[in-house]
């Protein structure tokens, strides 16, 4: 297998609630520890706040209601991934419940009734794991931005 093929078939498995999801390893930058989530007033759906990581301010998308149907856990790690917005690269983070795992596996097409944010599925052992389309996921709106009108003390600080 060539290096390009290995990269194409490399995925980071993340834990959210009782489920595991995959993200293409090529876009994942790091798994950040449970640092403080800074919350301020804004109107962008899905964005919960920002974290400071290695001197950079990184927006955090609260994807847990979409993927796990629950609120943000009190203590969580952040999976940091890169996105292209308006032709510029920017880091974004999503909260995850714990350790992540790097796997190499073949990506199969997702079933027709899958949500739009599912880019495909991995078959690992007896488990079928949905691979997320990060860009579509962070644009999936379920509710107004959590920070608007909320008390920041209820949402953070975390660490």
């Amino acid at each position: 297998m060539t290096a390009a093929a290995i990269e194409k078939n490399s995925f980071v498995l993340l834990q959210l609630g009782k489920r595991r999801f995959g993200l293409p390893a090529a876009i994942v930058t790091e798994l950040a520890p449970p640092v403080k989530l800074h919350v301020f007033a804004h109107q962008t759906p899905m964005v919960a706040g920002v974290i400071m990581r290695r001197g950079r301010i990184i927006p955090v998308y609260d994807v847990t209601p979409v993927l796990a149907g629950k609120k943000l856990p009190d203590r969580r790690f952040y999976l940091v991934a890169s996105r292209k917005i308006d032709a510029q690269d920017e880091l974004s983070a999503i909260p995850v419940d714990g350790e992540c795992e790097l796997v190499t596996a073949e990506l199969f097409p997702s079933p027709e009734d899958s949500p739009k944010y599912v880019a495909g599925v991995l078959s690992i052992g007896e488990e079928t794991i949905e691979v997320l389309d990060f860009e579509t996921l962070v644009r999936t709106t379920t509710a107004p931005a959590v920070s608007n009108g909320a008390n920041p003390q209820q949402l953070g600080p975390i660490a």
């Binding site: 403080k36 800074h38 919350v39 301020f40 007033a41 804004h42 109107q43 962008t44 964005v47 920002v50 400071m52 301010i57 990184i58 927006p59 998308y61 996105r83 917005i85 308006d86 510029q88 920017e90 974004s92 962070v138 931005a145 608007n148 009108g149 909320a150 008390n151 920041p152 003390q153």
Partner: protein, 179 residues
């Protein structure tokens, strides 16, 4: 090829500082450049001189206050930022725009790091509200854009409403005198 000394690199990493007023609205922290604020007053002290503005369509502005020879539209900070209603106690009167902001509390005045640009992930009105985000004393807070409280359209609507209510008052007064 350019050679940069470690000292030069360190200098580049140090962000410029600016004097700012840190305040809260509905429990949320904000910063504003001190140079953008002309005066801070208690909301009660302005209550007597405030003129009500009716039916402007700009729901976050209900009053106009006069300070010296200038007038300021009083913007409710909670309504502007879409936050839970709180009881504002202070008014920040801005220097270069006809705007005064109702806020809950002034935390302190301090030097803050020059704001980082707002991440592109933020796509809402906040792009107009904020100059950027500043990381100061382990807190990331938005630095408000003094020109972002009222759009040109809102200012025009307020001025028209003000003009209409003045004309109405003038007509009433003329009617009273004629009688």
């Amino acid at each position: 090829m350019s050679i940069t000394s470690p000292d030069q690199k360190a200098q580049k990493r140090v962000r410029a500082k600016e004097s700012a007023i840190l305040f809260t609205i509905s429990g949320h922290p904000f910063a504003i450049a001190s140079s953008a604020v002309h005066e801070i007053r208690s909301a009660d002290s302005l209550a007597g001189s405030a003129m009500e503005i009716a039916q402007s369509g700009v729901t976050k502005v209900k009053h106009l206050v006069h300070r010296g020879n200038r007038s300021y539209f009083v913007v409710n900070g909670c309504a502007h930022f879409g936050l839970k209603t709180a009881r504002p106690t202070l008014v920040l009167i801005l220097r270069d725009s006809p705007v005064a902001i109702l806020v809950d509390k002034i935390e302190r005045m301090t030097d803050i790091a020059e704001p980082n640009p707002l991440p592109l992930a933020f796509e809402g009105e906040e792009r107009r509200w904020y100059r950027g985000l500043s990381y100061t004393d382990d807190v990331i807070m938005p630095v408000v854009n003094p020109a972002g409280f009222l759009t040109r359209h809102e200012l025009r609507a307020l001025e028209e409403a003000l003009h209409a209510s003045r004309a109405e008052a003038h007509a009433e007064l003329s009617g009273t005198v004629a009688q």
